[in-house]
């Protein structure tokens, strides 16, 4: 396909060293009419400072209620190639690893049915295929699913869980983040494909408190690996860091949020009982410090973007839980969490919002988790607290 539109504004965005999305669209435009019209449409948006997309209609594949975001141009006559421009969300493999063979196959199919444009990956974690038509959906699904790929979530459903690289390559991972993520993705297939929840539900799994997958900020259920035990210190390695110029007092000891470390110029020591397991020292001295003892997870619940009541970060619900493959306990816990939400939420109410309305207690009681100071930064400030009949029986 040749050049169809003059795009003086977008061309500006091909200048400069950072890889250009305009170049990407142009590349696809060499073989895709859809991508070509996308270029024209976006140029017009740049000129008019506004998008030209209509509200998405409900489109999808047979038996599934999600996985495709319907998208129609507001200017189908002017840009017929993007009259339909749906996206297809494909469940990414946990950890975003691919063989070139697999990814090439994915791309080949997409070249056949779609615009050739992708997002690798979407913000939730899906492999996002950007721009196809309604009639292409069934064959696309058949092509991918027959090769072992399934659609991701959309609508009021479980969304594709996502995770950090975890145990695969990271020495700090307290858990098999990818294993857990994959397992949960598989177990919640039905809930992902047949939206029956009050609203979306996202799971993200991080191997440690660094949270390289932003679980605590962007998932209704945030699973974070942690440990119960001491931080073992390799004093020779400490010396090595000092020798290489690290100012251990300034960079480590004084930055420890609990002030539980000390360094006398020779030996580093940690008052482990006071460590909050924030990860700072470990990240800066990975050769010298190693967690020991029991490994497990903290489950935090409720984070989301600002609509409707302001952004939420996830709240600690289960301070520590031991888990083992095939993660039945975790699956059951998440199921209970979702069940309570499903039973109580209004439509379009996320679980964090619901907990804020109902209070933590009914939620904790429903999922069978006892109160713990780990769940709060500080106790309540007002004297306005409820008593249940149970409390009187005690």
């Amino acid at each position: 396909m040749g050049k169809k539109y003059d795009t003086p504004l977008l061309d500006e965005l091909e200048k400069g060293p950072w890889p250009s999305f305009v170049t990407e669209i142009k590349k696809s435009a060499t073989h895709s009419n859809m991508a070509n019209d996308e270029l024209g449409l976006v140029e017009k948006s740049y000129r008019d400072k506004r998008g030209y997309w209509k509200h998405g209609g409900i489109v999808g594949v047979l038996g599934y209620g999600g996985g495709v975001i319907g998208r129609y141009s507001a200017l189908p006559d002017e840009f017929p190639g993007v009259a339909h421009f749906h996206t297809v969300r494909i469940n990414q493999p946990s950890g975003f690893f691919y063989t070139t063979k697999a990814l090439r196959e994915i791309c080949n199919i997409w070249d056949k049915y779609g615009s050739g444009l992708t997002n690798v990956h979407g913000s939730t974690g899906d492999l996002v295929l950007l721009g196809t038509t309604t009639e292409a959906l069934e064959p696309i699904f058949a092509e991918y699913s027959s090769r072992g790929w399934d659609l991701g979530g959309s609508g009021s459903a479980m969304r594709t869980p996502s995770c950090c690289i975890g145990a695969a390559r990271c020495e700090w991972s307290n858990i098999d983040a990818m294993g857990i993520c994959n397992e949960m993705t598989q177990r919640f297939q039905d809930e992902m494909h047949r939206p029956a929840y009050p609203y979306k539900f996202k799971i993200k799994v991080a191997g440690c408190a660094c949270d390289c997958v932003a679980a605590i900020a962007r998932s209704d259920c945030s699973i974070i690996g942690t440990w119960k035990g001491d931080i073992a210190i390799d004093q020779a390695a400490v010396k090595d860091y000092a020798g290489k110029g690290m100012d251990i007092n300034a960079e480590i000891v004084e930055m420890c949020p609990t002030s539980c470390m000390s360094y006398d110029g020779k030996e580093l020591s940690i008052d482990n009982g006071e460590c909050s397991r924030c990860m700072h020292c470990i990240t800066k001295m990975t050769k010298a410090l190693k967690t020991t003892g029991e490994k497990g997870i903290t489950i935090l619940i409720g984070s989301k973007a600002p609509i409707v009541v302001g952004s939420l970060l996830s709240w600690v619900v289960v301070p520590f839980m031991k888990i083992e493959p095939p993660y039945d306990d975790l699956y059951e816990m998440i199921s209970k969490i979702i069940e309570w939400w499903d039973d109580n939420a209004k439509p379009r109410e996320r679980i964090g919002e619901l907990i804020e309305v109902k209070g933590m207690r009914p939620f904790l009681e429903a999922i069978g988790v006892p109160p713990s100071p780990a769940q709060v930064f500080e106790p309540r400030k007002d004297p306005f607290f409820f008593w249940s009949d149970d409390d009187f029986k005690k």
Binding site: L13, P17, K27, S94, T118, N119, E138, A250, E251, I307
Partner: protein, 368 residues
């Protein structure tokens, strides 16, 4: 039935081949052998430069990782280019990061240099590791979303051209995580980023009553409004909006498209700062408002870039080693952040929403 495009499965074939509820392939088959072998048994790692790190396993094995920028909107053509390189140097394995960078891995130290050379020669940008700016988490923008009130990809491109060296080379006191969202739905990380841009409206939406009547569910529409600005308009079988109560979030538009929130000439972006996600040192933090509004000025949003640069430079000058943007600001105090950056403090900065009570200053101690 019309002719199928070339190579398409027929409806019949599709029905036959399709499988449901299989989920993604198990990741194991995609793991490079060195990763598979040493899975869960890594000892430590080291950052070799802005785009390279090496992990050492307890077994003694090593894996070298080279990280490459991505515009995230990738044409299959570019992906093929990457795959060819991965075939050549990485035994046919490739990975993407949670911030959409691309990672090339090899256990063979000897391959690292030629790999990097070829990547550079082919125009790829290596970097993003360590106390730097990594890729920008962003959203669809005018490229795909009906709600977009700015373009995300364009902003990202303009930002990263400006900050390019902080990706490929120059260090900052700590990681600086950038994000862009094209509306307040914030499909990404704006709400918890060191430095981020979010598109905002500033005018009460207009209502196409005829269409509302036909398309929208009135109770849902009313219920969608965070500030209860919407009430029924029985005469018109539609809804009305109380102007003083509307803060232009567009949630009504999401559930009822004929309520049009777009005003190209009054739309633009806000800049927020100081968020973080990890629990290292200080806990996760929300981003807070730095600049309430800058007009959309495509294709390169120069005013936005300048404002971001000012904030980044001030941070780079003032922060201590390992101190994230938000940690630095909290150490010096927000009043000092505003005086150091010269950013005007406006009524918009003062929270009047859900966190109001905790953000108003209840102390006689502050910097003058």
């Amino acid at each position: 039935m019309a002719d199928l495009p070339k190579g398409w499965l027929t409806a019949e074939e599709s029905k036959e081949k399709r499988q449901t509820d299989i989920g993604p392939p198990h990741f194991e088959q995609f793991l490079p052998p060195v990763i598979k072998k040493n899975y869960g048994d890594w000892k430590h790692h080291e950052r070799l430069d802005a785009g390279t790190m090496v992990h050492e396993a307890n077994s003694g094995d090593k894996v070298f990782t080279v990280r490459v920028a991505s515009p995230r909107i990738l044409s299959t053509i570019t992906i093929y280019e990457m795959l060819d390189i991965a075939d050549k140097y990485c035994d046919g394995y490739i990975r993407f990061t949670t911030r959409n960078n691309v990672e090339f891995m090899t256990p063979d130290e000897g391959k690292v240099k030629p790999l990097k050379k070829e990547l550079k020669d082919k125009g790829f940008t290596i970097g993003g590791i360590g106390p730097r700016i990594s890729n920008v988490v962003h959203t669809q923008g005018w490229v795909h979303c009906h709600g977009a009130c700015t373009d995300a990809s364009g902003l990202v491109k303009a930002m990263m051209d400006e900050f390019y060296e902080y990706f490929t080379e120059k260090e900052l006191p700590a990681k600086v995580r950038l994000a862009v969202a094209c509306c307040v739905n914030m499909c990404g990380a704006v709400h918890c980023s060191d430095l981020a841009v979010v598109a905002v409206h500033r005018k009460v939406p207009s209502i196409n009553h005829e269409a509302v009547k036909n398309i929208c569910e009135i109770p849902t529409t009313i219920g969608s409004c965070p500030t209860r600005a919407i009430s029924p308009d029985p005469a018109k079988k539609s809804v009305k909006i109380k102007d003083e109560k509307c803060m232009y979030c567009g949630n009504c538009f999401t559930v009822c498209p004929p309520i049009d929130i777009h005003r190209p000439d009054e739309d633009g972006v806000a800049i927020v700062v100081g968020g973080k996600i990890g629990s290292a040192r200080t806990g996760p933090k929300f981003s807070k408002l730095a600049i309430p509004f800058i007009y959309n000025n495509p294709p390169r949003w120069p005013e936005v870039i300048e404002a971001l640069k000012n904030i980044l430079d001030t941070y780079a000058k003032g922060a201590r080693k390992h101190e994230r943007m938000g940690e630095w600001i909290e150490r010096i105090g927000w009043e000092r952040f505003f005086s150091l950056t010269g950013i005007e403090f406006t009524y918009q900065h003062i929270d009047d929403f859900t966190f109001m009570r905790d953000t108003l200053r209840t102390s006689a101690a502050f910097k003058m």
